[in-house]
Each structure stands twice: as structure tokens, then as C-alpha cells.
């Protein structure tokens, strides 16, 4: 009779297959060995990417989820394996990335005894997971996994963690998999209140200077087409948050730019000049709002979010629409009038000209022959026609890329927004390529961030993934240095960075590499990199002390953007 029973570890694999998982990022260890043993029989159907550090696994899974519309799956062992996931969990939580992380745990009789490689990962990860659970019996595994997949991808997506004790992995169970479709205390898909949509439409239709801010929620709800239709019918100018880049084609005439601390000049200052501000699938991060007491006070605010706790959290909404962005945009498009806001759009163009001219003046004053970050990004954008998947790390290069890459395709921007995790880009780019193998993936990383997770070059070597890496090397932790220059009297406390020979390093991993210093070599080097069959590392030496402008300094309002 017992012959139909399988082990808990096999139940893990069968459950994952039932959820159409075909890629896992992970690292084996003692407490997850039974699951790895079960995985060994799935070599044909499930690709496992062996990383070099568990942080690499989770960032790769994030990159994968962000480009593929699938859920990123991670395996890690107990103790240090599990704690190495923490940064990625926090990152995925704040950036709403759907992940299912499975950690091994010591056998249940050892729980709480300080056993070898025991750590309370459920306790540690509680504030940085959407949901987590510890499983101590084999028969509980399929239900936990079904719940995990349901929670990770519904409502506002997020990371979940399942901690499975070793005895549960070894234990025997009957296997029957039922997908989860309802949890009685969880309400992920709110019904749109038509009355609130009508209130919003009334404000929009009466507005003289309506202004639309979009966030990642557009892409998470697959509402790109609905957005385009809403924007074109209503004639409203559109600006994007960092994570929203790509949701709306940046070459569209109604696209006015990127918001926030280092965002474009026009979209920031116009926030305090519009009369109706419509925010869809974004959460008014402090990097977007600046001083909230001086943010859009003159405007009526319409806020659409699937997460009720975001509504009225930072900015009081005159009309709060608790709904999926796609659905809300569809309804709003029917309700708004066909309009054009030509004069209002011109105001954005005029402000943009001020920005472009001032930045050009700044550059002229430098009289420097050194390459600038923005030149590299602009050229890359031109060569790839804004259609590559761009993965960035954190810092000056990230802001420069957000400013100057023309994101014309959805889900083409992978970056660590809310958490600002240095070291994110290299592993995330590996995952992004597995998520979208048919598209070119370019990771743009600073010399500092690259050295935080450069061990993942080994993952690239072993998995034979084709990722292009551009290191913008300014020999500084540039963003901190910029702040030290501006606010700490140029006291460059521990921001200068001595780096190894990245070209030699890359070649040690059998990854073709080149270093560029001259402007005249840039274009050809970028073309060579993109055309190279396989991975490639291009180190570009850029100006040491370039600053990112515009800048909205701490405590400033969106009207007080500095251009130099």
C-alpha cells in the first residue's frame, strides 16, 4: 500500500513542476540535500543554475522574475545559506518581485537547540517576506508550496519563503497537488468601485493641467496597452518612477521623463504646477516626492494601487482607487474625454530645454577629455535602439542609465529601486537572461558594486549564459563621493576605490573583455561587445569626479531641483 508514497523532497520537485517551474537558482548544503537529490532526477525538465553565493541566487531569481513574468525560485540550505538570502528578500519585498525561496532546515527535533547550521530564518525573514512558513512534515509540503505560489504572484507580488526541515524532506507522503486559488483571510484582487473611477474621471475631464505618474504596477498588472490607450485618449503627459521605466515607450511624444531625486527637471517641477495628479501603480517613495509637505499641494490627487495600505500612506488622495492598475486604466479610458493638452506638454518641453542647456554648460566648464557616463549610456541606447534589457546596480551609473537610456520596451529595466542594493546587477543580469533568453541583456555596473558580487562571474562561466557587462569605472564610490563633495566639504572619507584589473579578472573566467579609455574607441567597443557571441565585459574608464544632475537634495521640494 505504501508503494505510492514519495518522499517530501520528491514532493517539493513534483509541486514545483506542477507550478510550471523550469528554472531554479540555488546552492546546495547539508540541510537541503534530500531536495537536491530529488532535483537530480529532473535534469531534463528543470534547469538549475548553480550560483557562487546565495545572495547571487536570489538576485538572479529577481532578474528572472522581472523579465519573464514567471516566479523566481531559489534553493538554499539552512543557517548561512538562508541568511545569505536576506538582502535579496528585502529587495524583492520593497520592489514587489514574486519569488518562492525554499530553504532547508535542521531536523525538527533539533529546532531551537542551536544545532549545526540552525538559524531561525522564519523569524528573521518575517518582516521582509510577503509570507513565510516552516514545514516539519512531508505531507504539509504540497499545500505550503501551492499557497506560496499563489501568494507570491497575486495582489501586490512579493517574496515568500518556505523553510523545510530535513526530516520533512526525508519523510514519506501521499502526493496530490492542488493549486491554491483562495485563502480566506487574503483579498488580493479588489473589486474596482465604479463610483471612485467616475470621481477620478470627473477630475481628469475638468483638469487644465492633468499629469500622470506611472510606476512598476503597470507592468506587474500587464497593463501597458491599457496605459497607452488611456494616455493617447486623454492627452495627458506621462512621467515614470525608476521602476516604472519601460512601462511606457520613452520615445512616445507624451512621455516627459523620469521622476525623482536624480530625475529629469521637467517632470519634477511640473508636479507642483499640475492641477490633477494621477498616480498609477506607484507608491510616492521619498526619492520621488522630496518634501511631502510641499508636494503637489495645489493638485487634486488620484491614486490607483492594488495595495490598500499604499493609499493615503504618504500623499493624501482626493480619489483613492483600490484596484489593479490594468483594470482601473481600462475603466478610466472609457470614462475620460478625448483631449489634447498641447500647451501643457509644451511647458514640459520648455523645461526640458532648460535642463539640457544647463547640463551642457556644466559639461563645457569641465574642459575635460575624460569620457562621461552619460555619453556611454546615450551611445548604448542608440546602438540598441532602446530595446535591450538593461540591468543596473546602485549609484551614479544607475541614475545616469535611468536618465539617458531610452527604454522603449516593457520589462526591460531591472534595477534595485527601493532597497538600493549594491551588488544586485551582476547576478540579476544572469537571471534576466534566463528569463528572456532571446533578448540582449546588458548589465551596467559601477566599479564598487561590481566587486560586491563579482564571484558570480563563475556562475556565468559554468552556465554559459550570454550577459554583457559594462563597468563604468570612476575609481570612486561615486554617489557617496558626490554627496561628500556637496554636503561634507569634499571630505572624501573612504570613497576612493582601488580595483583589480577587471579585464584580466574576466579572462580568468573565460569571459572576453576589453578596457576603453578613449572616446574614439567607445562606439566600436560597444558594438564588439554586443556582437560578441557569449558573455563580454567592457570596462569603461570614466571621469573620476562627475556629478549627477539634476538633483533634488534631501529636504528639498520637487520645485527645488538643482541643475548644478
Amino acid at each position: 500500500m505504501n508503494s505510492t508514497k514519495i518522499t517530501g523532497a520528491e514532493a517539493v520537485m513534483k509541486s514545483l513542476v506542477a507550478e510550471q517551474v523550469d528554472t531554479i537558482f540555488g546552492y546546495p548544503g547539508g540541510a537541503i540535500m534530500p531536495i537536491y537529490d530529488a532535483l537530480y532526477d529532473y535534469e531534463e525538465t528543470v534547469k538549475h543554475i548553480l550560483v557562487r553565493h546565495e545572495q547571487g541566487a536570489i538576485h538572479a531569481a529577481q532578474g528572472y522574475a522581472r523579465t519573464s513574468e514567471k516566479i523566481g525560485v531559489v534553493f538554499a540550505t539552512s543557517g548561512p545559506g538562508a541568511t545569505n538570502l536576506i538582502t535579496g528578500l528585502a529587495d524583492a519585498m520593497i520592489d514587489s518581485t514574486p519569488l518562492v525561496c525554499i530553504t532547508g532546515q535542521v531536523a525538527s527535533h533539533l529546532l531551537g537547540t542551536d544545532a549545526f547550521q540552525e538559524t531561525d530564518v522564519v523569524g528573521i525573514s518575517m518582516p521582509i517576506t510577503k509570507w513565510n512558513i516552516q514545514v516539519t512534515k512531508a505531507e504539509e509540503i504540497p499545500v505550503a508550496i501551492a499557497k506560496a505560489f499563489y501568494i507570491a504572484q497575486t495582489g501586490r507580488p512579493g517574496p515568500v519563503l518556505i523553510d523545510i526541515t530535513k526530516d520533512a524532506q526525508f519523510g514519506k507522503t501521499d502526493f496530490k497537488y492542488e493549486k491554491c486559488a483562495n485563502i480566506r483571510s487574503y483579498y488580493p484582487s479588489p473589486k474596482l468601485k465604479i463610483s471612485s473611477a467616475e470621481d477620478a474621471a470627473k477630475l481628469i475631464n475638468e483638469a487644465k493641467k492633468p499629469y500622470l505618474l506611472i510606476g512598476q504596477g503597470i507592468m506587474l498588472s500587464n497593463g501597458e496597452q491599457e496605459l497607452l490607450e488611456f494616455v493617447e485618449k486623454s492627452g495627458i503627459p506621462v512621467a515614470s518612477t525608476l521602476l516604472g521605466l519601460g512601462a511606457f515607450p520613452n520615445n512616445h511624444p507624451q512621455y516627459v521623463g523620469f521622476l525623482g531625486m536624480h530625475g529629469d527637471y521637467a517632470p519634477n517641477i511640473k508636479t507642483n504646477e499640475c492641477d490633477v495628479l494621477i498616480a498609477v501603480g506607484m507608491r510616492f517613495d521619498d526619492r520621488v516626492t522630496g518634501d511631502v509637505s510641499r508636494y503637489a499641494k495645489q493638485a487634486k490627487v488620484v491614486h490607483v494601487d492594488i495595495d490598500a495600505s499604499e493609499l493615503n500612506k504618504i500623499i493624501k488622495a482626493d480619489v483613492a482607487i483600490h484596484a489593479d492598475a490594468k483594470e482601473a486604466l481600462k475603466v478610466l479610458t472609457q470614462l475620460v474625454h478625448n483631449k489634447q493638452h498641447t500647451a501643457w506638454l509644451h511647458e514640459f518641453r520648455d523645461a526640458k530645454k532648460v535642463e539640457v542647456d544647463t547640463l551642457q554648460e556644466n559639461a563645457n566648464k569641465l574642459h575635460s577629455e575624460e569620457l562621461k557616463m552619460d555619453e556611454v549610456i546615450k551611445m548604448l541606447s542608440e546602438i540598441t535602439k532602446g530595446e535591450a534589457i538593461i540591468v543596473t546596480d546602485v549609484g551614479q551609473h544607475q541614475m545616469m542609465t535611468a536618465r539617458y537610456y531610452q527604454y522603449n520596451k516593457t520589462k526591460s529595466n531591472v534595477t534595485s529601486g527601493g532597497l538600493g542594493t549594491m551588488g544586485f546587477a551582476l547576478p540579476a543580469a544572469i537571471g534576466a537572461k534566463f528569463g528572456a533568453p532571446e533578448k540582449p541583456v546588458v548589465a551596467i555596473i559601477g566599479d564598487g558594486g561590481f566587486q560586491m558580487t563579482l564571484q558570480e562571474l563563475g556562475t556565468m562561466l559554468q552556465s554559459e549564459v550570454a550577459v554583457k557587462i559594462i563597468i563604468l569605472n570612476n575609481r570612486f564610490l561615486g554617489m557617496v563621493r558626490q554627496w561628500q563633495q556637496m554636503f561634507f566639504e569634499k571630505r572624501y572619507s573612504f570613497t576612493n576605490m582601488v580595483s583589480p584589473d577587471f579585464v584580466v579578472l574576466s579572462k580568468a573566467y573565460n569571459i572576453e573583455a576589453k578596457k576603453v579609455e578613449a572616446r574614439t574607441d567607445l562606439k566600436e567597443s560597444l558594438l564588439n561587445m554586443l556582437n560578441h557571441n557569449g558573455s563580454y565585459l567592457l570596462e569603461v574608464m570614466v571621469a573620476k569626479e562627475e556629478n549627477v544632475f539634476p538633483m533634488m537634495t534631501t529636504g528639498a521640494s520637487v520645485s527645488e531641483v538643482r541643475l548644478n
Partner: protein, 175 residues
């Protein structure tokens, strides 16, 4: 302006629920004055009653974060005027002090009751608001209070809408 609020959270009875609920407060640097948990009038649904002093703005945001937890059905916040609440306090004093007639007087005046009398000690019970149980403590102190313990607040709300009605509405709101 800071005020006393009573937060009621209706949850599943899962391991770690108390931790999930309390870290929402910790993260915002809010100190919880008292917390109690028990099964509610709906079988299997637990009710946490949390008392804290904070601002209306903060507590409203906390409610949003609590409701975001997967295992939370609903959370409510009430001011003192909107709830009927009680606490229970136990006082252990030496039995020998009973020979002093004043102890009996204090117990009578406070409408407290004697739970148990042992050859060595006795336990007095008093339910009421904090001020009342605290006053009894003060009045018993001259006789020597060996131990004193007070529960967290339990509270029911004055509005007549039942939690099961909310549950039904929530279920219907699912798209």
C-alpha cells in the same frame, strides 16, 4: 496629538502570528502598552487586543500594514470612548495580614474578591480599568503585596456590526 487607542486584529491561528502582528509596531518604533489574544466569537478566528499610545495618523497606517498580512482578516482601531474594556488584576498578600481588619475593609471598598486562601498567602482578584486596579494595589501596599499581576486589556466595541458580517463582506469583495 497622542491618544490611547485599542487595536483589534482578527487573525488565523497560525504559528508566529503574535510575532507578525507585533513587528508591525516595532518597525514604526511604537511601544505596545498591553496585548491579549484569544479565540473570537468566530471559531478558529483569533482576536488580538492591543493598547498603545500614539497619533491617529500613525495608528491608521498600522491598521493598513496589519491588514496586509496574509493571515489577518481585518483590523480595527477604536478610541477609549468606543470600547467597553476591562483588565483583571491578582494580588498576593500574606494570610497573616488578614487579622488586621483594615484589609477586609479595603477589599470591600474596592469590590474585590478573595480567590483563594492558603495557610500562608491569599489571592485577591479585581477586575476594572487600570486606574481601579492600580488604586487597589496602592491601598494594599501597606499590608505587603507579595506579588501583583495585571492582564492586558480585553475589549469589545460599542458599534453593533458583528465581525462575522465584516467577514461576509470581505469574502464578497473578492474579485
Amino acid at each position: 496629538m497622542e491618544k490611547i487607542f485599542t487595536v483589534s486584529v482578527f487573525t488565523e491561528n497560525s504559528i508566529g502570528m503574535m510575532n507578525r502582528v507585533t513587528i508591525i509596531f516595532t518597525r514604526r518604533h511604537l511601544n505596545i502598552d498591553s496585548i491579549t489574544a484569544s479565540e473570537s466569537e468566530v471559531k478558529g478566528v483569533f482576536r488580538y487586543t492591543i493598547v498603545l499610545r500614539t497619533t491617529r495618523e500613525q495608528v491608521d497606517k498600522v491598521i493598513g500594514q496589519l491588514e496586509k498580512l496574509i493571515d489577518v482578516f481585518k483590523a480595527f482601531v477604536h478610541e477609549d470612548s468606543e470600547v467597553v474594556h476591562q483588565e483583571i488584576a491578582l494580588y498576593k498578600i500574606k494570610t497573616a495580614s488578614l487579622t488586621n481588619g483594615d484589609v477586609e475593609k479595603v477589599i470591600r471598598e474596592h469590590h474585590a474578591r478573595i480567590l483563594t486562601v492558603d495557610s500562608q498567602f491569599m489571592v485577591i482578584e479585581k477586575t476594572g480599568h487600570v486606574a481601579e486596579t492600580q488604586l487597589l494595589f496602592t491601598n494594599l501596599q501597606p499590608f505587603g503585596v507579595l506579588e501583583f499581576a495585571r492582564s492586558g486589556r480585553v475589549a469589545v466595541t460599542k458599534p453593533m456590526k458583528e465581525f462575522s458580517t465584516y467577514l461576509k463582506e470581505l469574502e464578497e469583495s473578492k474579485g
